[in-house]
């Protein structure tokens, strides 16, 4: 059947549909996925300055070390951690027996996500201890 304005209809269906926790999870997964895709394209483009040498790259990165950009990066991390944890939840539901406890998985993911998000914010804004485990792991790999 031909619909006059399928897009409008899809949107209003999504808006009108009574949303359970799973529908919010789905909608947020979409939004964060789209956001991350746009970010990756911009990111690769910014990193192209690596090819122009140290001055060009460092000048660009100096900008991103300003506090409001650090804040933006933290929000970006929020998108990443939500999409990642909910992505894991989707895979468990699809490949495992997760459908039986998908709600608990969601609450768990949100709880873990919030903790990691706050922890990351602490590290990004207030620095870190050079002798703790993660610090050593990071310097090992770099």
């Amino acid at each position: 059947m031909y619909q006059k304005s399928p897009t409008k209809e899809w949107t209003s269906n999504v808006v009108r549909y009574k949303k359970f926790s799973g529908s919010w999870a789905w909608l947020l997964h979409r939004i964060t996925g789209l956001g991350l895709t746009v970010y990756v394209l911009v990111h690769i483009n910014t990193l192209a300055s690596l090819q122009e040498g140290p001055e060009a790259f460092n000048a660009k990165m100096q900008v991103f070390m300003q506090p409001h950009w650090v804040f933006a990066a933290w929000i970006l991390f929020g998108l990443v951690i939500y999409h990642t944890l909910n992505g894991i939840r989707i895979v468990i539901i699809d490949f495992g027996k997760g459908a039986k406890y998908h709600k608990q998985l969601l609450y768990g993911a949100v709880a873990i996500g919030l903790i990691v998000f706050l922890w990351m914010g602490y590290i990004m804004f207030f620095g870190h201890d050079e002798h703790d485990f993660l610090s050593r792991a990071v310097s090992f790999f770099s």
Binding site: Q3, P6, T7, W10, R30, G33, L34, L36, T37, V40, L41, I44, N45, L47, A48, L50, Q51, G53, P54, F57, N58, M61, Q62, F64, M65, V70, A73, F77, V80, T84, G87, I88, I90, V91, D94, F95, M120, I123, M124, G127, H128, L134, S135, V138, F141, S142
Partner: protein
């Protein structure tokens, strides 16, 4: 239009599967990337640090895999969202081609960024 049953082939089940596999691999790469880039601001924002990492060919291979997987997963995801809407077929072809061009273009740029070292 005549409907031809093709089993699960051509139904998008392969991209559904690959979306999950690429997602699982991305978990490790992306979490590692974020910690590496932010644990200490210099790590993610200084040419010298990037240069040092890129001296390791395994790190370069990992980064290339990251570019390819992130672009594949992200653009495939956009296509998946687009397919939820009903649009004229000329637009389908245009959007699909655009996504391919974006993937190949940014993929080449991203890999060039890495191999430049």
């Amino acid at each position: 239009m005549e409907y031809k049953y093709m089993g699960s082939r051509g139904s998008g089940s392969m991209s559904w599967f690959l979306q999950r596999i690429s997602g699982i691999v991305l978990v490790f790469v992306i979490v590692g990337h974020f910690i590496l880039m932010h644990y200490n601001p210099e790590m993610g924002h200084s040419f010298d640090r990037v240069y040092e990492r890129m001296q390791n060919p395994y790190y370069q291979m990992l980064q290339i895999a990251f570019v390819v997987l992130a672009l594949y997963h992200g653009l495939q995801g956009v296509w998946n969202i687009y397919r939820d809407f009903k649009f004229p077929s000329w637009l389908n072809l245009t959007v699909f081609s655009l996504l391919i061009v974006l993937g190949v273009g940014f993929g080449a740029l991203g890999i060039a960024n890495i191999l430049h070292f």
